[in-house]
Amino acid sequence: MSTAVAQKRGLGAVIWDYLTTVDHKKIAHLYLVAGGLFFLIGGLEAMIIRIQLMKPDNNFISAGLYNEMITMHGTTMIFLAAMPLIFALMNAVVPLQIGARDVAFPFLNSLGFWLFLFGGLMLNVSWFTGGAPDAGWTNYAPLSTISPGHGVDYYVMGLQISGAGTLIGGINFLVTIVNMRAPGMTYMRMPLFTWSTFVTSTLILFAFPALTVGLFLMMFDRMFGSAFFDVGLGGNAIIWEHLFWIFGHPEVYILILPLFGAFSDIFSTFSKKRLFGYSAMVFATVLIGFLGFMVWAHHMFTVGMGPIANSIFAVATMAIAVPTGIKIFNWLFTMWGGQIKMTSAMLWSVAFIPSFTIGGMTGVMLAAAAADYQYHDTYFVVGHFHYVIVGGVVFGLFASLHYWWPKMFGKVLNEKLGKLAFWPFFIGFHLTFFIQHFLGLMGMPRRYWVFQEGQGLATGNIISTAGAFLMALGTIIFLINVIYTSVKEKKVSGDPWGGRTLEWSIPSPPPHYNFVQTPLVRGLDPLWVEKMDGKEGMTPAEPLGDIHMPNASILPFTISLGLFIAGFGFIYQVDDPTWLIAVFAGMAITLGSMLTRSLKDDLGHHIHKEELEEDIKKGVGKS
């Protein structure tokens, strides 16, 4: 119903629809577009870095601009590209996988998106107002506290706003998974992607507040004259490092775990087998999540915490290799003896296994505290984390997009173009980052603007830059594929892959209430269970009846807009107190919107049985 109506409406109505929507499927579109855009910006920054490092003593960009580039590349890719793209997948898939009609808090879902977007915009506005943040994505004090201009202030306010959005999103998915599962969908029947979303959301909940506090302290030091990181007044710069990494280390698991879940679903679907060692996979996911909180100080081995602390964190870090190894083997065993179909999604997934394993191996090398004194702040570290983040997260995003694209948009991404995008990206990726390990071992430090002639670093760097261009080529082909598919490809059924889980039991894209009748889940891989019993779709768990749905609202947008305005006020009141007007005006908009939300009842609306019956006649409800 909703899609047919939307097509007839004008552009203005569509924009208004997206500004006010609380539908998880549309919010997934918003996250996908915004995250994709920031991914391109972050990619552009990466290309500029690689061009600067193409040859010795290059002066393609100035040293100051180079610092801004590396800072914004890291910050953008982690917070504004990877996280929202993961949230796009979670929004598109998790409610469908558990048989729910929406998330637990549709209003908060929308609020989370708008906070992220305004935070991301805030960060990038800095390019045009006198300089972006330039103290590295880790923003260590005192480099950050004494950084001139307002760049770091934008970092603080932008991340504070978008971080609040992420926290809200995390709580939303926790409650959704606890409370909204369809009858029979027990915890140990949940698909791995839902499981990993659950564990990831827990990590978000307990990790992000540490960043919130760190950013507040940084904000107070830079804008209100406090002395947390000011050694002259008794402050301690190491506090920032601890708070940042208490957040930052769980953050890398927040990034990778959802994709681990997606890979599990993909391997199992395209091998036509249930996941090997399901309960071990669940256990390993939870264990990685737990250990993820115990290892933050391995980023700080050279700070001088002493041999005992270093040893404890080294051992804890190495321990994470065990559950991760369990996962790698279970994926291999899932494929073993299966009827493997090498689709694009599968290609990215298969390529992920050796790539990520290399990254894991160098991770164990870095975990050896004594050896880390040699690796620390060299290109070895850069090579390592790009192997896990690109080889794990980015490969996972491409695989997931190929896999769930038909569910989100009703069309399968062109397979030929999909594979054509894969090969340059895959080869380019290894070309770019494998050599960086050796550059690091040869002594090339990270974050340096230039390297000099005659240090033996020139060959490695030109290879690395060439690889980056191949990765860019792969990305461009993927974008062409998206456009080609939306123009040329035909609509497909709701179940193009021969799926096993609930999302494939409904049409693509799903009607806005998802399930006409809530399905009854009878086992792991519920749709597969029904197929094996010779049934066409799921058995309903309830009679056909009215469906209760949440109302759209513009308030999430205004709440976020208020904080965006207040953010500028906070940044510039240092120069001129009249900017405090922006602080008060912005906070008034935000708090006023919150009060409106609290005072005005929002009871939602019903979709009546008769409308549903009409939809069924038109063929909605069957995959």
Binding site: A104, N172, N179, T212, S226, F228, N236
Partner: protein
């Protein structure tokens, strides 16, 4: 059956705050949120413990704090937690009037606490010239205790707006979860204060 009828049943269930799916979601979602808040305050406590010795030789915790005032503040806040329990007790018995009265008492006690905290800060700034900017200890003290004070202020505004909004229509299954999680929030603020009283004031005096 319309939403109105569902939310105003003839016989209220014993746990009106968890009788609807929305209520259940709010209930568990708010507990998760408090988990996040715990990490937030834990980070602030960690920062405070790292910096409470950095007094730059003047205005040490021992010199500044007066336990008499803080003791009264503690009693006010602890009692307000108890009165909010009474309010929830009456909510479960569908006695809306008594619930409002006890919430009102909670707000008055909370206001008393907040007033004394403002006085305390004023006193430190004007009589001791101990400010947010004087030392790392000053920054950490005002941030930790101020964050708590900010939470108290937000909680008061929240409870008051709930009381005013629902004064005429009484209790139903739509607003019961709202009252309930506001009281959860109030308990959380109370628990944080117990730690502030111990870590900041008692340890400041003894240590």
């Amino acid at each position: 059956m319309s939403s109105e009828d569902v939310l105003n049943p003839k016989h209220m269930p014993h746990d009106p705050e968890k009788a609807t799916l929305e209520g259940k979601n709010k209930f568990i979602g708010f507990w998760f949120f408090l988990g996040g808040e715990t990490v937030l305050f834990a980070s602030l406590f960690g920062t405070y413990l790292a910096l409470n010795g950095s007094t730059q030789g003047e205005n040490t915790p021992e010199h500044l704090f007066g336990l008499e005032l803080v003791f009264i503040m503690t009693m006010l806040l602890l009692t307000s937690s108890l009165t909010s329990v009474y309010a929830m007790y009456h909510m479960k018995n569908q006695d809306f009037k008594k619930m409002q009265i006890w919430l009102g008492i909670t707000v008055v006690l909370g206001l008393g606490f907040l007033g004394m905290e403002i006085y305390e800060f004023y006193h430190y700034i004007h009589h001791y010239e101990f400010t947010f900017r004087s030392s790392a200890f000053g920054s950490a003290f005002y941030t930790l205790v101020g964050f708590h004070g900010g939470h108290v202020l937000f909680g008061l505004c929240w409870i008051v707006s709930l009381m005013l909004r629902n004064q005429k229509r009484g209790l139903n299954l739509y607003n019961a979860p709202k009252f309930y999680i506001a009281s959860l929030y109030w308990h959380f603020i109370d628990v944080v204060w117990v730690f502030i009283f111990t870590v900041v004031y008692l340890m400041g005096k003894v240590g």
